[in-house]
Each structure stands twice: as structure tokens, then as C-alpha cells.
């Protein structure tokens, strides 16, 4: 057990260093995904016909294995973190776009009519009425995207030590130290759970207006269609 945190030097990081790296590689793509998803979702709400093709496109992108992404990207971005993060950002769209669209659409018709009747312009209405009311749905989407992203970072190991905690898996193999694999899996799972809890906290702070006790957790379609990512990062990686 005393060798649990004794990491091989080829990782070039302490355990905490790996955690920091892992969080950066997992969370920045989700943030980037959110920045892209917000306007895309708004376009989908505004022009209904746009939603089905956009949804189809995000699903197709999601179906591209990360290895294939790497092969293409590596010519442009090399063996860098960016090569890992770009696919992760693209994957997050499949959860975030529908979450935001559903959230914005869930605003009751009479609330929208009342806002219009009181003299809200479309922009003001979006930022002051629709977006705040969509926060619970957006956070629900962010939770799935974040947890998924944290588990997927490990795959970066394949392009040369860009998998953060995932690199431990490779080292476990090379140095015949199974405790490193356990470390990788447990730490990744713990990070996922903590990140999820943090997002729940963020929602609680942002939505004092929601009925307590009967909070609806909006589960997006993809959340139930996939195995819980945090619990099985290794399996997930094998599939990719």
C-alpha cells in the first residue's frame, strides 16, 4: 500500500499533479462544449426544423471512436492535450445540446407570453427568462457530460502520456504494478463523483426558486442509454 502513491518517474507528475491535469483535460472540453452548445441550442429552439439534423450530427460525431479522431488530429495538433480535448468537447455536445433545448423549451407558454406582453424583447427574454429557467436542465446535462468526460480522458494515454490518470494504467502494465491500475480507477471514479456533487451544489445555489424535496432531475436520453461511465473507465476506453 505504501507504493500506492509512489508513481513511476516517466509520468513526470505527482499524484496531485495527475489529478490537476486530469481535471483540466476533462473540464475544459465540457466548458468549450457548453460555449458551443448554448448558441447552437438557441438556434434549434428558434428554428425548429434545425433541431433533428443537429441532433443527428452530434450523435454521428459521438459515434466516431476517439482513436479515429486522434489519427486525424495528430497531424495538426500533435501529441498534445489539445488532441485529447477536442474529441471530448465534441462528445459533450450530444448531451448538452438536447439538455439546453429541452430546458429552454420547458419554459411554460404563459410565462413566455407574459414576458412578451410586458415588453421583453427577444434577447432580454432569452437571458432573463428562458435561460435562468433552463438552468436545472442545463446543469443536469453538464453533470452527465462532466462525468463522461472525466472517464474518457484516460484514453489520451494512447497518444503518449496524455491520459493523465489514465497513464497509470499503462504504467501498471509496463512495470507489473497492479496497484497503479487500482489507483487510476479509484481516483478517476472519485473525481467523477466529486465533480458531480459540485455541480449539484451549483444548481442548488442557482435555483433557490425550485420546490425543495420534489426537485426533478432531468435525465437526458443519452444518460440512460449508456453505462455509468465513471464506474467503468477502463471498459469504456477499451470500447473506444
Amino acid at each position: 500500500m505504501n507504493r500506492f502513491f509512489d508513481l513511476p518517474s516517466d509520468l513526470q507528475h505527482s499524484w496531485f499533479g495527475l489529478i490537476g491535469l486530469h481535471l483540466r483535460e476533462a473540464l475544459l472540453p465540457v466548458l468549450a462544449g457548453l460555449v458551443v452548445a448554448l448558441p447552437v441550442a438557441q438556434l434549434c429552439v428558434r428554428f425548429r426544423w434545425l433541431y433533428p439534423p443537429v441532433l443527428g450530427l452530434t450523435t454521428v460525431l459521438y459515434a466516431i471512436p476517439s482513436l479515429a479522431f486522434f489519427v486525424v488530429l495528430i497531424d495538426y495538433t500533435g501529441q498534445t492535450e489539445l488532441t485529447v480535448m477536442i474529441p471530448l468537447a465534441v462528445y459533450s455536445l450530444v448531451v448538452l445540446v438536447p439538455a439546453i433545448v429541452d430546458g429552454v423549451r420547458s419554459v411554460p407558454q404563459e410565462t413566455l407570453a407574459a414576458a412578451t406582453a410586458m415588453g421583453f424583447g427577444p434577447v432580454r427574454r432569452y437571458f432573463q427568462v428562458q435561460l435562468p429557467i433552463a438552468v436545472p436542465a442545463i446543469v443536469a446535462g453538464l453533470r452527465v457530460a462532466t462525468v463522461s468526460s472525466i472517464s474518457l480522458v484516460s484514453v489520451g494515454m494512447l497518444i503518449g502520456n496524455q491520459g493523465a490518470l489514465g497513464n497509470l494504467l499503462n504504467d501498471a502494465n509496463i512495470y507489473h504494478r497492479p496497484e497503479l491500475a487500482v489507483n487510476s480507477v479509484v481516483t478517476t471514479a472519485a473525481l467523477a463523483i466529486l465533480a458531480d456533487a459540485a455541480l449539484v451544489l451549483v444548481r442548488l445555489v442557482l435555483t433557490p426558486w425550485m420546490p425543495r424535496g420534489t426537485r426533478r432531475v432531468r435525465r437526458t436520453r443519452t444518460a440512460t442509454a449508456r453505462p455509468e461511465p465513471a464506474a467503468q473507465p477502463v471498459l469504456e476506453d477499451a470500447v473506444r
Binding site: E110, T111, A113, A117, V135, W209
Partner: protein, 381 residues
């Protein structure tokens, strides 16, 4: 004044929601648009604040076409109340009410002070200010909706089936509250409902629309009940319009009798004298003068009157305040056929028989007929 000038709303698929509608909506009164679903009443209302643009015709506000001013300026000058209130669930009650003042550029403090003032006006406890809409009952939410519409003191108030989604008891309370607020503020209110009783209760003028968005009749409620323009309006008014019309006749015209009234502590002599009149029953009151019940004079024994054995007196009507409808209702409810008139504090001021009420109704009809003849309206029934 709002003038709707032969306005038509035709949708791209050819549906006509409103068909050459012309209405003059007088200032400082409640004008009700009523009709079955699909009659274009909500569309008409939404054309007044340009949430729907007419295909033909125009709408004038104080003589000027409403399209002359920026659409959001127009909307901020018109309060809007909607079914289910349409409150902003993510804002507190106070901030919901302060919405339009904030849009108009008031600072937060002034807007909130104004909101607090309005909470009081619509009968909301100030302890609710920091709550969120989900913590309020449907009736309270609707009050917030009214307060929010009134916040910037707009001259015009548009109300789209505001009380349809609350239960009948709460609805009655809200209706009375609206009439009280209207007495104080004198807004120009356009009120949409599918409930003809609500229309008759609230409206100064009532516009009955028929399916397809055509105006069937535009008249004060009493005239509507007296002289429906056609079968559609008559049908829409329902079967008991005669009885309902009595709501518009004051009970002050009734001559009440005070002779058949005895207090519960009356002496045998008093009972004998009062019972000797031409009325078959005596009304027994308590020591404060409030009604206890009816009895035949022979059944009353001085000092031993048991209130539990008296005949029920129905529902007393407030003389001079309530209508002939309330008086008739009271008389019909009591097995004696007599109604009890009371004052504001519930003390008996006199009693009146069905027969006397009937005469008063005939008198009122004769008066109504004379008025109607003067305006060349047709009186049926």
C-alpha cells in the same frame, strides 16, 4: 378609448380568427369579450398589445394607431394578466411585481417599494414578498399576476381568462377584488372569458363573439339578458337569464314589513298582538335583532321559545345593497315563502313575501320595457 376598427385576422392557412370586428372600448370601465372557444376573443385581446398583428383594419388608442409607437413601449403601457398567472418562477414575488418598472428603467429600490405597495393593494400579505411562485396557492399567484400588471400604473389592463384556472370560491373572491380595485383605480380593462356569468358580473359592456370571430352582440349586461340579439346569444346566456337579470334590480324598491317580527324574549301579549296581523308566520329574532327562524303564532309560548324548533329562514338579503335576485332566493329557500331583509351588520330590518317580490319584479320589468321601448330594443319574454 380603444377603438377596434373593422379588424380581421386571417392566418396563412386560411383560418379566420377574427372577422371584421369593430368595437369601441370606453375608458375607465370593464369591457368583457366573451364567447365559446374559437371565437377569437383572445386573438382580439392580443391584437390590442400587438402580440398578434391584424391582417386588415386598425386599432386606435386615444385616436392614434397603435402601430405608431414602438411595440415594447406600447406593451409596457398596458398591463397584461394571463391564465395561470404566468409568473416568473425564478424570481421572488416582489421582483415579479417589479418587472415592468424595472424594464422602464426605475432603480431596484424604487421598483421594489412600488411592488410592496401593490402587494397590499391586491390583498397579499407582505410576508410573501421574498417567497417564490411555487410557494403560493393558485389564487395568490393570480393576485401577484394582477399586481404585476398594475405595477407601472398603466392606463390599460388586458386580462386573458385570468380567473379560469382557480376554483369557484377563490374565483368569486378574485372577481370581487377586481371590482374593488377597479373602483379605486378606474383603469380601462379589457377582459376575456368564456364564462358568461363572469362576463355579466364584471362587465360594464359585454361583447359576445361567435365562432369564426364575428361580433354577435355588444351591450351592457342587463340589456344582454333582457334582449339577446339572436338565438346564438340567447343560447349562450343559458336557461335562467330571467332569474339572472334580477341581479340588476335593486332590492331597495321592496317594501318590507316589520309587524311579524318578535324577539326571542317577547311576552305573551306581544306575541298575540303581532300574530294578529295578516301574516301567517312570525319571525323570531335574538336579543341583538338577528334572525333565528319562523314559527306560526300559535306555536309560540312566551319565555319558552326554542330556537331549535323554528322553521329555517333561508338566506337573508342585505336590503338596499343586494338585488331582487338575492331577495327572491331568500324567499324560495325558506319553507314559509318569506325572505328576511337585514342591514349591513345582519340585523333584521323587515320581511317580505314572494308575492311582494313578484310584484316588484313585474314593476321593474315594466320600467325596463319602457326604457327598452325608448331605445327601440326588442324585449322578448
Amino acid at each position: 378609448m380603444i377603438r377596434i376598427d373593422s379588424v380581421t385576422k386571417r392566418y396563412p392557412d386560411g383560418t379566420v380568427a377574427v372577422d371584421r370586428l369593430s368595437l369601441e372600448i370606453p375608458d375607465r370601465s370593464i369591457t368583457v369579450l366573451v364567447g365559446p372557444s374559437g371565437c377569437g376573443k383572445t386573438t382580439t385581446l392580443r391584437m390590442i398589445n400587438r402580440m398578434v398583428e391584424p391582417s386588415e383594419g386598425r386599432i386606435l388608442l386615444d385616436g392614434a394607431d397603435i402601430r405608431e409607437q414602438p411595440v415594447n413601449t406600447l406593451r409596457r403601457s398596458m398591463g397584461y394578466v394571463i391564465q395561470n398567472a404566468g409568473l416568473f418562477q425564478h424570481r421572488t414575488i416582489l421582483d415579479n411585481i417589479a418587472t415592468v418598472p424595472r424594464l422602464l428603467g426605475w432603480n431596484r429600490q424604487r421598483a421594489r417599494a412600488r411592488a410592496a405597495e401593490l402587494m397590499e393593494r391586491v390583498g397579499l400579505d407582505s410576508s410573501l414578498a421574498k417567497r417564490y411562485p411555487y410557494q403560493l396557492s393558485g389564487g395568490q399567484q393570480q393576485r401577484v399576476g394582477v399586481a404585476r400588471a398594475l405595477a407601472a400604473d398603466p392606463p390599460v389592463l388586458l386580462m386573458d381568462e385570468p380567473f379560469s384556472a382557480v376554483d369557484p370560491v377563490v374565483r368569486k373572491g378574485l372577481q370581487e377584488e377586481l371590482l374593488r380595485i377597479q373602483d379605486e383605480l378606474g383603469k380601462t380593462i379589457v377582459f376575456v372569458t368564456h364564462d358568461i356569468d363572469e362576463a355579466i358580473k364584471l362587465g360594464t359592456m359585454v361583447a359576445v363573439l361567435r365562432t369564426g370571430g364575428r361580433l354577435a352582440q355588444y351591450a351592457p349586461p342587463a340589456e344582454l339578458l333582457t334582449a339577446p340579439a339572436d338565438d346564438f346569444v340567447e343560447d349562450f346566456l343559458g336557461t335562467d337569464r330571467g332569474i339572472r337579470r334580477l341581479s340588476f334590480f335593486a332590492s331597495s324598491a321592496l317594501e318590507l314589513k316589520t309587524s311579524p317580527i318578535v324577539a326571542v324574549d317577547s311576552t305573551a301579549e306581544q306575541i298575540a298582538t303581532r300574530g294578529a296581523g295578516d301574516t301567517p308566520y312570525l319571525l323570531v329574532t335574538d336579543l341583538d335583532g338577528r334572525p333565528l327562524g319562523w314559527a306560526e303564532p300559535g306555536e309560540l309560548t312566551a319565555g319558552e321559545i326554542d330556537p331549535g324548533r323554528l322553521l329555517p329562514y333561508g338566506r337573508p338579503f342585505e336590503h338596499g345593497q343586494e338585488s331582487l335576485r338575492a331577495a327572491l332566493d331568500g324567499a324560495v329557500l325558506s319553507p314559509t315563502g318569506w325572505a328576511v331583509g337585514v342591514d349591513g351588520s345582519g340585523r333584521v330590518v323587515g320581511v317580505v313575501s314572494q308575492q311582494t317580490i313578484g310584484e316588484a319584479i313585474r314593476g321593474a320589468h315594466a320600467e325596463g320595457a319602457a326604457v327598452a321601448a325608448g331605445t327601440e330594443a326588442e324585449v322578448s319574454g
